[in-house]
């Protein structure tokens, strides 16, 4: 038979791994700038265990182009978590790189405690794109206040795409408390077919839901 049992040790890769394991964080931070993506990726993976490396990881994230290294940096930052990481990630919502922005949104969705106190500011950002991304964060943020934040936004928002995105999220998570805001915004944007359509869906789903 050609089935063989794994050789116990002896192989090169695990040996190298073992040497890397426990490497000092200063070495790992330096390796975030290594020309070899594999080295950068391993450094990022190992730095997930060092909360003090959050700034170095965020610095590296800004310039990183390799998707696999970028994902390792994002996941390391997600593992570290906390206020400082949220502060570093939020400015990246302004990046021109859609892949980076969406990666940042995913990580922020996983940190409700750190994101909640910053959400009001984000939903009032002067850039409508950033407001849309803030609403996207709310889509999957496990925080009970998200429907209320979005209803508040609908009350003042002028940009049609921010409104459309917020209605879409409320179609899934909104309750009867959000109905007045949905009705008002539908009226205010009555000449926008998409807003009228999505508000109708959201209102129907809430009204016909069983209380």
């Amino acid at each position: 038979m050609g089935l063989v049992k794994r050789q116990e040790s002896g192989q090169g890769a695990p040996e190298r791994e073992r040497r890397r394991h426990g490497r000092a964080p200063e070495d790992l931070v330096r390796q975030l700038a290594d020309p070899d993506p594999a080295v950068r990726r391993w450094a990022a993976r190992d730095l997930a265990a060092h909360p003090g490396a959050a700034d170095a990881l965020a610095d590296a994230l800004e310039g990183e182009r390799d998707p696999a290294v970028r994902q390792a940096l994002l996941d390391a930052l997600a593992a570290i978590g906390g206020e400082a990481v949220a502060e570093r990630l939020i400015p990246l919502l302004r990046s021109e790189d859609a892949g980076l922005r969406n990666g940042v949104i995913e990580v922020l969705q996983g940190m409700p405690e750190a994101v909640a106190p910053r959400m009001a500011r984000l939903l009032e950002d002067e850039d409508p794109d950033v407001r849309i991304f803030a609403v996207d964060i709310c889509r999957s943020l496990p925080h009970p206040d998200t429907p209320r934040w979005l209803a508040g936004l609908l009350g003042r928002e002028r940009h049609v795409n921010v409104v459309g995105t917020a209605i879409d999220v409320l179609a899934e998570i909104g309750g009867p408390e959000e109905l007045p805001a949905l009705r008002a915004v539908a009226e205010r944007f009555a000449d926008e077919p998409f807003v009228a359509f999505s508000a109708k869906v959201a209102i129907r789903r809430i009204e016909e839901g069983r209380a």
């Binding site: 859609a98 969406n102 995913e106 459309g164 995105t165 209605i167 179609a171 807003v195 999505s198």
Partner: protein, 124 residues
């Protein structure tokens, strides 16, 4: 009847676009992001993709680049449908290989006109 893929992470946007496209007599398949679109699309025949830009896991630009670099979906026309109206966004869409760019919210007539132009109309 054409087969059209609608890729968008917002459920109400998918519903809205689906209604407009089905009104022309076409068949619609939906996907929530670029990876799901590839899972469903590879190996089958398509007449048109309507693709959002900002989506989790795989954004619209990357989806179009993947389509253009593979065999199966290289020739399928793609309309990017984005909330972003800046010149750099359109440039990114052309660079990725999109055929047309619409800014959200899409007027029903505008979307249907593009679908007619790129995928025709059932029975027409």
């Amino acid at each position: 009847m054409a087969r059209i893929m609608i890729v968008d992470d917002a459920a109400t946007v998918r519903m809205y676009h689906r209604e407009l496209v089905e009104a022309l007599g076409h068949q619609v398949v939906e996907a929530e992001n670029g990876i799901e679109a590839l899972e469903k699309a590879l190996g089958a025949t398509w007449d048109l993709f309507l693709v959002d830009v900002n989506m989790p896991k795989m954004d619209g630009y990357r989806l179009v680049r993947e389509m253009r670099s593979g065999e199966d979906l290289r020739e399928v026309p793609v309309v990017m449908v984005s909330t972003e109206a800046k010149a750099r966004d359109k440039e990114q869409a052309w660079a990725a290989g999109a055929n047309h760019y619409l800014v959200k919210p899409v007027r029903p007539e505008a979307l249907q006109a593009v679908v007619r132009a790129l995928a025709g109309e059932a029975g027409a």
